[in-house]
Subunit: 503 residues, 2 copies
C-alpha cells in the first residue's frame, strides 16, 4: 500500500510513499519503548536544538516541497518553519529551566498535623512513548517536528509521529532531517520515528508500548481516536484539538466607530491560510443595524478563489457551505471570484449571514465549523440576544470582542471565557504566539480535554506524570530533587517557591 | 427505592436513606450549574474553612455513626476526620496563595520571533460542575467532604457528591453539616449537593451540566464510569483511582540485617484498616532464602479476624484469596484466627507465598489486588529475577524498597518509579500525608490517568482549565492578572516567577 501525494494547485501527482507495515511498526514501537528514560533534560535540550538547526539549514529544500504538497506559498511556509524551529528552541529552553517538571520538596516534619510527615519530594517525568497524529494545515508547525512532538520531547518522551498523508513527501524529508540530526547528536534510535498510513496509526494507538497520544484535526477524526485511546484495556490520555468556530463579537459602539478597519481585519483573519486555521473567525456576531456584512462582501468580491490543502477539504467545504445556505434563515451575503477551471482544489470565498434568532433556533446547523474561506455573520438586536448567543455557541479555541474606545466589555469577556480557551480583545484570533501564557485549547468540541493546550509552555504538561519519593537517599533521587541546587532551579520547598538549596 | 445501611460488625440494620429521584437530580444539577463562577477564591477559602470547622464541631456525633456503618473504630475515625478537616484547610490555604491557578503574564513584545507578540495573560479557573464518587474505605477522607470535594472546591468547582451506600447515614449527616456551614457562610445553594443511588450517579455522569468526574474505588467500577465519561457526546475528564498491589522489595542485605523489624512494620502496614487501604502492600518481594514469610506468619497467627467495611468486600476478599491459593505455585504461608460466629463481615488474615518464576508465568493471576487483610510474598533468587518482577508488576500507587544500612538502591528506586506514582524507602506505603509534594496516583490500573493525583496540593489541577486573555483591558481581566499585585501572588512574568507588579 502506498500513499499518493497530490499538488492541490493542479491535481498532479508529486510522488508516493509506502505505508508502514505491521512488522515495521513493531520495530518502531520496540525502539521507542527502549528509549524511554534514556538521557536527561540537558541531553534532550541538545537533541532538540540540533533538530531545530537542521530544519533551518534545510529550509531551501523543505519549503518548495511543502508548497508543492500544500499550496500554502513560500512566504507563509517560511514563516511557519521559523515558528516551528523557534518552538523547538523555546520548549527546550523551558525544559532546561526545570519549571515544567515542578520539583517539589517537603522536608520531614514531626509536628505536621494530623500525623508526622516524612521527607517527601516529587518531580514530573515523561509519561512514556508519545504518539503524535500530524495535521494537514500546518505542514511544519503541527506536523512531524511540530508543537506536539516538541512538547513531548521536552517532557522526555520518545515520539512516534503518524504522518499526515496530505504532505507525505515533506513528512519524509523532515523525518530524515530529524533522524540525521538526532543520530549526530547522540540520541537513542527510538527517540523519534515516523509512520505512514491509517492502519499503522490506529494499530500504534492500540499498542501497549504507547502511553499518550496527541492529535490535531477534525472532530470526527479526533473523536474516533479518542474513543480508541479511552477504550483500550489500559486507557491512555489522548488530547485531540478538533473543531472551533471562534466567535467574534462586535459591540454597537465598535461597529459605529470603526467598521471599515474591523471589516479589513476580519477579511485578513478569516482568509489567512485560505481559512484553514483552527482559529479562523467563523461566527461574527454584529449589531443588527451594522453594515459590516456589506463592507466585508465588498472587500472580498474581487478576490480570486484560493487553493485549499487538498481536494477532500475543498469538497467538504463546498458541501458544508451548501448545507449552511440551505438552512432556513441563513442567507448568502457575498462571494469572491469563481474558482478557475482545471483540476486544482480551489474554493470560492463565501460570506453568509443570519440572525441571532435563527442561530438560537438551529444551534447545530448554524454553528457547524466550515474549514476554508468562509465566515458567517450573526446579527443581534439586544444585549439579551447577544448573551443568549454567547451561551449557545460551541466550545471554541478563541473568543474575540471588538469594542469602542475605552468601552467596558468586562461582561462580554467573562461570557467568552466560559466558552473559549483564549479571549482576544480588539485583535484577531489567527496567529498563535508560542509563549508562556499561550493557551491553545478550549471546551469540547474545540478539544477533548479543556485542561490542556497544544501551543505554548503548558503544552509540555500533556506528556508528564509526577513521581514522589518518600524518605529516599540523595543518591537514588533525581538530580533536581537533591538538597543542593547547583542549577538554580526554582523548586517548591515546604510550600514556598525558591532557588535556594535545602539545608 | 431506598438504601439500607448495615453495621458490618453484626449485620444489623443501622437505617435507610432514600435514593435520589430523577426530578431531584435535575434540580441538583441546575443549582450546581448556576453556581459555576459564583464567588472568588477568597469566598471559597471562607466557605471551605467553615465546612472544616463545622465537621470538627460535630465530631462527637459523626464518629460514632461512622463506626456503626464502617466498623473502623473510634481512634482511626478520629484521626481520619482530623485529616479530612486538615485537608480542607490545607487546600483552601493553597488556593489562597494563588499558586494552583498559575497566573502567567507575557507582556507585549514587538521583537518576539518569529512574529511580534501581543500582551497575553493566562490563569486557571474551575472547569465547571464536578461529580465526585465517594469511596467506602475512608468514610471521611475520601467521601462527602473528602479530598476530591475539597480539591474541586479549591479549584472553584461546585460539587455534586454521589454518596457511597456503605455509609449512607454518615453521608447524610456530613452532607447536612456541609450544607448548614455553607449556607451560614453565604455560599450559593448549588456549591454542594449530595445524591444517593447507582442510577443517580450514572445519570449525573452523563448529564450535560457535569464537566469533570472523580472516583475512588474498584477497577471494575472505575473502568465502567471512565467509559461513560469518555463516551459522552461531549467527553469529560474522569479521574478514577482504582486498584494497586503496591510492591515492596526487601533487599538481601535488609533481610539479613533487620528481618524482625521489617516483619513487624509489614504486619502493621498490610493490616492497617483491616487491609482496606489502596496503598496496602499486597506483593512483598523478598530474597528466596529469607525467613520473612515465617516471621510475618508468626506475628499474625494469633490475631483475631478483623471486621471489613461490608459483607460484599468480605465475600470478594474470600473468593479472591481462594482463587489465588488455587493457582499453581502459590502456597498458603499462614493465617490469623478464624472469624467469629455470627453475621459480622469478618475476614481471616491470610499470608500467601510464591516465587518470582511463578509470578512471571502467571502475572495476572498472582498480581491481582485483594482488598482486605492479606498479602503475598514473592521470592527472588537473583538480581535479574528481581528486575523481571519489577518490570511485570502492574502500575501501582506506591512502590517500596527496604534496604541495608547505606546500601545503594538507586536501580531499584528507578525501576519502581517506572511502575508507581510514589516510591518509599525504608518506610511503609500506608499513610498518605497531605502536603505539596504528595502524589497519590500512578500508571493504570492504579488510576485511569497517571498524570493526576487525588491527594496533596496537585489534586486541585484535575479540576482546573486555563483561560488566556490577549490584549485585554485591566478592568476586564481577573484580579490576579492585572499589573498591580497587591496580594503578592507568585506569577510567571515573561517567563520568570516573581511577586513583583508589572510595570
Amino acid at each position: 500500500m502506498t500513499i499518493t501525494s497530490v499538488n492541490p494547485v493542479d491535481g498532479t501527482v508529486v510522488g508516493t510513499v509506502p505505508e508502514t507495515s505491521p512488522d515495521e511498526l513493531r520495530a518502531v514501537l520496540a525502539a521507542a519503548s527502549a528509549a524511554v528514560g534514556v538521557g536527561d533534560t540537558a541531553d534532550r535540550v541538545r537533541w532538540m536544538t540540533a533538530v531545530a538547526d537542521a530544519l533551518d539549514a534545510r529550509a531551501a529544500d523543505l519549503i518548495p516541497l511543502a508548497d508543492q504538497e500544500s499550496g500554502l506559498g513560500h512566504p507563509r511556509l517560511t514563516s511557519e518553519l521559523g515558528r516551528t524551529t523557534g518552538q523547538l528552541r523555546f520548549l527546550a529552553g523551558y525544559a532546561a529551566s526545570g519549571q515544567p517538571f515542578e520539583p517539589t520538596i517537603d522536608t520531614a516534619d514531626p509536628g505536621w498535623t494530623p500525623t508526622p510527615r516524612s521527607d517527601l519530594r516529587s518531580i514530573k517525568v515523561g509519561i512514556g512513548v508519545a504518539l503524535v497524529f500530524a495535521a494537514s494545515n500546518f505542514p511544519f508547525a503541527f506536523s512531524v517536528a511540530g508543537g506536539d512532538t516538541a512538547s513531548a520531547w521536552a517532557a522526555g518522551c520518545p515520539v512516534v509521529v503518524k504522518a499526515h498523508p496530505g504532505h507525505a513527501l515533506l513528512s519524509e524529508a523532515v523525518g530524515q532531517a530529524v533522524r540525521d540530526a538526532l543520530t549526530a547528536a547522540g540520541a537513542p534510535e527510538g527517540f523519534f520515528a515516523l509512520v505512514h498510513g491509517f492502519e499503522a496509526g490506529v494499530a500504534a494507538l492500540a499498542a501497549d508500548e504507547v502511553a499518550v497520544g496527541a492529535f490535531t484535526g477534525s472532530v470526527a477524526g479526533g473523536t474516533a481516536l479518542h474513543a480508541i485511546a479511552a477504550g483500550r484495556e489500559r486507557p491512555i490520555p489522548f488530547f485531540a484539538e478538533m473543531g472551533s468556530v471562534n466567535p467574534v463579537v462586535v459591540t454597537e459602539r465598535a461597529a459605529r466607530e470603526r467598521a471599515e478597519s474591523i471589516a479589513e481585519g476580519l477579511a485578513g483573519s478569516f482568509l489567512l491560510g485560505a481559512g484553514q486555521f483552527c482559529t479562523k473567525p467563523g461566527l461574527v456576531i454584529v449589531p443588527a443595524d451594522s453594515d459590516l456584512p456589506e463592507r466585508l462582501t465588498a472587500l472580498v468580491t474581487d478576490r480570486p478563489a484560493p487553493v485549499l490543502l487538498h481536494h477532500g477539504i475543498r469538497d467538504r467545504h463546498a458541501t458544508g457551505i451548501m448545507g449552511l445556505l440551505g438552512r432556513s434563515g441563513v442567507e448568502l451575503a457575498g462571494t469572491g471570484q469563481e474558482p478557475p477551471a482545471g483540476d486544482g482544489a480551489h474554493a470560492r470565498i463565501t460570506v453568509a449571514s443570519t440572525t441571532a434568532a435563527t442561530l438560537l433556533a438551529d444551534v447545530e446547523g448554524v454553528t457547524e465549523e466550515h474549514f476554508g474561506p468562509s465566515t458567517v455573520f450573526v446579527t443581534y438586536s439586544s444585549a439579551a440576544e447577544l448573551r443568549a448567543v454567547l451561551a449557545a455557541v460551541p466550545g471554541s479555541l478563541t473568543g474575540t470582542v471588538h469594542r469602542g474606545a475605552d468601552e467596558d466589555i468586562a461582561e462580554v469577556v467573562a461570557l467568552l471565557a466560559r466558552r473559549a480557551g483564549r479571549v482576544v480583545v480588539d485583535e484577531w484570533p489567527t496567529g498563535v504566539a508560542v509563549t508562556w501564557a499561550q493557551f491553545h485549547g478550549g471546551p469540547h468540541p474545540a478539544t477533548t480535554d479543556a485542561r490542556f493546550t497544544s501551543v505554548g509552555a503548558g503544552a509540555i504538561t500533556r506528556f508528564l506524570r509526577p513521581v514522589a519519593y518518600q524518605n529516599t537517599p540523595a543518591d537514588a533521587l533525581p538530580i533536581w530533587l537533591r538538597d543542593a541546587n547547583p542549577d538554580g532551579i526554582v523548586r517548591r520547598v515546604d510550600g514556598v517557591l525558591t532557588t535556594a538549596a535545602v539545608n
